[in-house]
Structures are given as structure tokens and as C-alpha cells.
Amino acid sequence: MDVIIESFPYLLEGLKVTIYIFLVAIILGFIIGLIMALMRLSPWKVLNWIAKIFIDAIRGTPILVQLFFFYYGLNSLEFISMDRTTAGIITVAINAGAYFAEIIRAGIQSMDKGQTEAARSLGLTSSQNMRHIILPQAFRRMLPTFTNQAIISFKDTSLLSVIGIADLTQKGQVEIARTFEAFNIWLAVGVMYFIIIYLLSLLSSFLERRYKLR
């Protein structure tokens, strides 16, 4: 128990890094996902193809391999240099983005055709229809799936400890290397992750109740 109290400030530092990376990555990921989804639905075949290849490549390879590719692989090239935090954020963001893209696409396609027809008959252009009619309704429908992906991405940040990012998992390893108290430290780290994820799921159910489609 003493060891948890002694290590707590260090673990908290790690948690701050974890939360920071998660927030930046999830916002970026959402933007990437939205762009990719609209490309997938675009009447231009070439945009559709580019987005499909990107999404398949990301979903079809392990995130750890992507992380190593971005950080060690790209950095070993002469003309590219990015720090570990950037590489870590990009990895989590494009992963979240690829999954978000599919969630958003499915959400948009699940909207009733009648909505679009109604918008047309009111004289709205197709981009106005997207912005004011389809997307707001589709997003409400997607909320639960979004939070689910956000929780997965939050857990993915734990992998970034392997490239030396001082996140919660990394701090845990470092504290164990110092104190050899594996049980207590991992217990504390696990509880800290759990609390954040629990808060995320509370937020999700709150939003769902508030924005329910009637």
C-alpha cells in the first residue's frame, strides 16, 4: 500500500499524458473519419477508392506495427523527423479515424431516403441537405458506437509506452523497475484506467439520453 501512495504522483503524471494524447488523437481522428466517410460516399470514384484503400490498410494491420512504422520506420528516412508524441498521436488518430469513417458512413447510409427527398423538394442543395438534415440525425444515431470506439482508442494509448512515451503504462513499468512491486503498481494503474473509461461511458449514456432521436 505504501508503494502506491509513494508512486501515485508519478502515475498521475503519466495519466495526464495519457489523457492529453487521447484528447488530441480522438479529435483528429474524428476529423479524419468524417473526411474519409464523405470521400467514401462521394460520387467521384477516385476519392472513394483512395478512402477505401486507406481504411482497409489501417484496419488490416496491427496498431503496434503501424506505430513502429511511423516512429522507427519513417524516422529512419533522411527527410522525415517527428518526435515520439507526434508519432504516437498520429497512430492513434488514424486508427480511430479509419473506424470512425466506417461508423459515419454506415450511419449516413442508414438514414431514410425520404429525408433526402424531402430536403430536395424544399429546394435544399445536396451539401445543405448533408449539413442540416442528414448529419445531425445520423450523429445521434451513431453516438453509442462512437463512445465505444473512443474507449477502444483510449486503451490503445497504452501501447505508446513502447516507443518511450511517458504515459500511465510507461510510468507503471518504470515504478516497477524501481520498486519491484508489480502487483500493487499494476493494480493501481488498472484502477486509474478503469476510472477514466467508466467516466467516458457515463458521459456516453448521458449524451444518449439527452439527444435521443424521437
Binding site: 516512429y71 522507427y72 524516422n75 529512419s76 523527423s81 518526435d83 515520439r84 513502447v162 516507443i163 518511450g164 511517458a166 510507461q170 513499468q173 518504470v174 516497477i176 523497475a177 524501481r178 519491484f180 508489480a182
Partner: protein
């Protein structure tokens, strides 16, 4: 047409899997069969040449040869278990390992958890930078720089203790390879590693690194067993070590990997 494609793809996958199935091999007991004695599990970190490394599917290195020779000399059996360095002592505490030989320096912190044998090698830490870096020649030049270390090592402890004094940032990674890549790719400016290991790595491979300045401290490597319950095993290890030094086998092992000193 689609169906045929799918089938041939699946068939190719099966063939591939079948081909892989027969090639997996893992290095277990040196002798293959359990004698009447207990087989001791020995923890090593195979990313640490010349002390421990893997060639093909065989473990090699000073530590590996040494523990094998000690086991032979004292008549017990061993089985090598490779893992990340920082996981070795926790694995001992979990009862997964009986012995650790991993270029492990004898420190007071570690002595609280394990008992060490007599020292078998004098090492010490070195500061290492990228080849051609003339900007950093000593710890004093590290202000505002980033130093890469390996989790759970004496290098990591040293870096932590002197962080405020010299004003550098620390990045902790899991293995030596990552540490070399950090400096090679320019994401870290320097690294701290045991002198014999880094000298060997620079001499034996095309790593673009250089050792700067004198050794930062003098550490001794020891063989570890779990604290307080392995006096008999520890005595065997010490006796074995002494008899290898006596017979010249110890020098022979060192020379195999380090050349004539």
C-alpha cells in the same frame, strides 16, 4: 470466378501454414531430458551482446556460456528463458525463474529482492552519442538534450539521479535496439549503456555511434537468485564460478567474445 479465387487463396494459406508448422523450434533443456535433479530456469535478456544474444535459434554469449559451464561443473540442469530485462526480477518474484544472469549490475536496490553471486565481470556505464557529434563530450553538455535509457537498468537509475544536475530529458525504452534507433534517428541526443556492451555493439556492427568521455561509474555484474531461500543454489553458483576461474575456462569464455584483453 470469384469462388475459384477465394478457394485458391485459402488453399495457398493452408499450404503456407502447414509449411510453417514444422519449422518452429525452441531452445529448451541443454540436455533434452530431465535428470533426477530439478531443472533450474534461468532468465536472460537476449538483446545484450556480447553477454547474451541469439544466433539462428541458439542462445550465445558470455553469460550463456558461463551459466552453462557453471551448471556442468556443479552438476545441475538449466533451461534458458528469454525476456525483457526489466521483467526479469519480477519474474523471479513470481516464481517463474530460479536464476538470472543478464549483465545485471549488483546494486543495493536489487539486493533487497535478490541475492547476488560473487562479481563475475567489471562493467560500468558510458555516455554514447551519434557518430560525428562533436557537440556532446561529457554529461555537462547535456543541458536541454534528450537521453535514452533502458527500463530497469543501472543506466536508467543513473540518468534519473543526475537529471536535475545536468538538466536533460529522459526517455525510457524496452530494449537496446530501440535505444540505438532513438539516437540513430535523432529522436534522442545520447544514451547511457554498460561500457562492454556498447563497445562491442559499435565494434561488431555498423552502428553509427561513439562512446564519449570516461566511464561514469564502476559496476560489477553478478548472477542473481531470489532472496533468502536459495543459499544452496547460490553456493553452487559461487563454487562453479570459482572453479571456472581456477581452470582457465572463465578466461576462455571471455576471450571467445571479447578477444584477448
Amino acid at each position: 470466378m470469384k469462388k475459384i479465387c477465394l478457394f485458391s487463396f485459402l488453399f495457398a494459406l493452408m499450404v503456407l501454414l502447414a509449411a510453417c508448422g514444422s519449422s518452429g523450434s525452441d531452445e529448451g533443456n541443454a540436455s533434452g531430458e530431465e535428470g533426477d535433479g530439478k531443472v533450474y530456469k534461468v532468465g536472460i535478456d537476449t538483446t545484450y551482446p556480447p553477454f547474451e544474444f541469439q544466433e539462428g535459434d541458439e542462445y550465445k554469449g558470455i553469460d550463456v556460456d558461463l551459466i552453462r559451464a557453471i551448471a556442468e561443473d556443479q552438476g545441475f540442469e538449466i533451461q534458458l528463458e528469454a525476456m525483457d530485462f526489466s521483467g526479469i526480477i519480477p519474474a523471479m518474484q513470481a516464481g517463474e525463474l530460479d536464476i538470472a544472469i543478464a549483465g545485471m549490475s549488483i546494486t543495493d536496490e536489487r539486493k533487497e529482492k535478490v541475492d547476488f553471486s560473487d562479481p563475475y565481470f567489471e562493467a560500468g556505464l558510458s555516455l554514447v552519442v551519434a557518430d560525428g557529434n562533436s557537440e556532446i563530450t561529457s554529461l555537462e553538455d547535456l543541458k536541454g538534450k534528450t537521453v535514452a535509457v533502458k527500463k530497469g537498468t543501472t543506466g536508467a537509475t543513473f540518468a534519473q539521479e543526475n537529471k536535475d544536475k545536468y538538466g536533460y530529458e529522459i526517455v525510457q525504452v524496452n530494449d537496446s535496439t530501440s535505444m540505438f534507433q532513438e539516437v540513430g534517428n535523432g529522436t534522442a541526443d545520447a544514451l547511457i549503456e554498460d561500457y562492454p556492451v556498447i563497445s562491442y555493439a559499435i565494434a561488431e556492427s555498423d552502428l553509427k555511434l561513439q562512446v564519449v568521455g570516461d566511464r561514469l561509474n564502476g559496476d560489477n555484474y553478478g548472477i542473481a537468485v531470489l532472496k533468502g531461500e536459495n543459499d544452496e543454489l547460490l553456493k553452487k553458483i559461487n563454487d562453479g564460478l570459482a572453479s571456472l576461474k581456477e581452470s582457465g575456462k572463465y578466461d576462455e569464455i571471455l576471450n571467445t567474445y571479447l578477444g584477448e584483453q
